[in-house]
């Protein structure tokens, strides 16, 4: 009986993982690591300085790609190259997950808006 319950629990965990796209990193860990980002990108990624992009609600995989590009030098920015150099792959994943999970300051554009309203 105990074995059965363990099996069921494992299946439920697997099911939950499949039902929701796997988070790219740990949101809570990302929050803890986001202190130095907040100086420019705002407390929860909604920057009020137009020089710095809004991160709140951005796709996590895009944010991860951006951080990796800054770290490997494919993308050049005096501030971000320095910041990303100090981050591990796990740090970048956690930060991407954290900012993607915040109340969205940005959204996907609407195709219809090109012609209507």
């Amino acid at each position: 009986m105990k074995h059965c319950i363990q099996c069921l629990a494992a299946l439920l965990v697997l099911g939950a993982g499949l039902a929701h796209a796997q988070p790219i990193g740990d949101i809570e860990a990302g929050k803890a690591k986001s202190q130095s980002c907040a100086g420019c990108h705002g407390a929860e990624g909604a920057s009020d300085n137009p020089a710095f992009p809004m991160l709140a609600g951005q796709h996590a995989d895009y944010l991860l790609h951006a951080l990796q590009s800054y770290k490997n030098g494919n993308r050049q920015n005096a501030i971000m190259n320095g910041q990303a150099a100090a981050l591990s792959e796990q740090d970048m994943r956690d930060l991407a997950a954290y900012y993607a999970a915040q109340d969205a300051a940005i959204q996907t554009l609407e195709r219809r808006s090109a012609n209507s309203d």
Binding site: S47, P50, A51, F52, P53, M54, G57, Q58, H59, D61, Y62, L64, H65, N74, R75, Q76, A104, A105, I106, Q107, T108, L109, E110, R111, S113, A114
Partner: protein, 111 residues
């Protein structure tokens, strides 16, 4: 104390601090028409970039000046992305300002 100079300085400081009040200001309506090509990727929810595979960024409500600097970086080749470099190379300074103004106006709270 020279009052005129003080007021002039304050006005200059204000002008520098206020986004969108500079010489190159974007026209949202012009940007709406010019952004048609952009929407083929950036208006498709969850659309993926081919390689490396990641979802194309959400741009509705992004800061205008950040979009301007990104497009200029693609145009100059400072920022690498085959499709974006090709598209940005066709844009004039005014096109970039207009498209950025339009994107910035399409945020979650600007509908």
């Amino acid at each position: 104390m020279n009052c005129g100079r003080l007021i002039g300085g304050a006005a200059l400081a204000l002008a520098l601090l206020m986004p969108g009040t500079g010489a190159a200001q974007g026209d949202i309506e012009a940007g709406r028409a010019k952004a048609y090509t952009c929407l083929g990727c950036h208006a498709v929810e969850g659309y993926r970039n081919a390689y490396p595979s990641y979802r194309v960024p959400k741009l509705g409500g992004q800061h205008q000046s950040y979009i301007v600097s990104s497009l200029k970086a693609y145009k100059s080749g400072a920022r690498q992305h085959t499709t974006m470099q090709a598209l940005a190379s066709t844009l004039s300074e005014q096109d970039i300002q207009d498209i950025a103004a339009y994107f910035a106006s399409r945020g979650p709270e600007g509908q």
